[in-house]
Symmetry: C2
Subunit: 219 residues, 2 copies
Amino acid sequence: MDFPSTFPIWNQLNTLQQNRILGSLTTRKVRKGALIHNGSMDCTGLLLVKSGQLRAYLLSDEGREITIYRLFDMDMCLFSASCIMRSIQFEITIEAEKDTEFWIIPAKIYKSIMEESASVANYTNELMATRFSDVMWLMEQVMWKSLDKRVAAFLLEEASIEGTNELKITHETIANHLGSHREVITRMLRYFQSEGIVRLSRGTVVILDEKKLEKLQEA
Amino acid sequence: MDFPSTFPIWNQLNTLQQNRILGSLTTRKVRKGALIHNGSMDCTGLLLVKSGQLRAYLLSDEGREITIYRLFDMDMCLFSASCIMRSIQFEITIEAEKDTEFWIIPAKIYKSIMEESASVANYTNELMATRFSDVMWLMEQVMWKSLDKRVAAFLLEEASIEGTNELKITHETIANHLGSHREVITRMLRYFQSEGIVRLSRGTVVILDEKKLEKLQEA
């Protein structure tokens, strides 16, 4: 898998632009848990995920977290290069949820190409609109959906990502994804267990009844 | 006030593009309370506010509301033309908070110019980034800030917009701005009243102690 065949608008760049990107491109491999970008760091650049999984989240002053979106193979991360647009006035943190390999396009290079190319600017627009849609969906969840539905949806999402119903995940981690507290998640999971929906053990949540979870999520 | 002197990137358009916009531009005057756009309607177009005040909000299936951002003189509304980007997968509702006059650029015309002009595409990017920042700020408020601080901040914002400490606003309206319930807002305002911060009467909230509100907001 090489960069040109992965970068969605490669063919819309002219040779000069292609060479500027190839000449400045770097790759990086990080371990699960690595912090890749935080709001106060320098402008990292645009990330294109080769393989692995990244998580972008909001971090409060008190250390609370809520997951904004996740990135998988071939996904592009724009907000790690938030300096390319002066109107981006928020800070997100990005960490590796799995061992991850990605390309970095330096922010300066991308910005200069975006300024001269309508295709690149419009592609960037679509990228941002996708993330915007994620955040608006999340806002609706947070505002109008009860926590039991959100936990149900999260467990189903995890099972789908991992391809297994035996999830290696702590209550603390689930709380950090959903912007909740560990104690609250523990109480909810125990309720799920008493209903026969999951089985809990140290660091593991096993989904026993997917159908009930799906019903709960949709209710 | 004419369109060319109000539209921020007018001078970055070529004559052809300028004529396409001028030839398709319409103006509209609406009364306070008018519904200008909702997610399920047709793609209204880009709005440029001449004078007045608009409110963009999320509406839940159950009729609950939360204000996402507000638009004032010379502000541009992008999401009333959400069809110009296929990745915009959310629906907002826009209503007039005051009698408002605005220009409408048809979505099709704007989209075609955006596709050929890097300047217009990048301007659109900045517009979206501004709204994205509003939403991220709101997400932080909703997630980590207690309601008393949010009500305090809202009352101060209203006083600043209206230029008076005597606010003609119902508890229901405040609840709809903040994504809360009327009963909850009434309880909070009564608490504020008992602390000597506001005085309540039918349809009116008078701010008596701005300093206390500011302290509360920052706490």
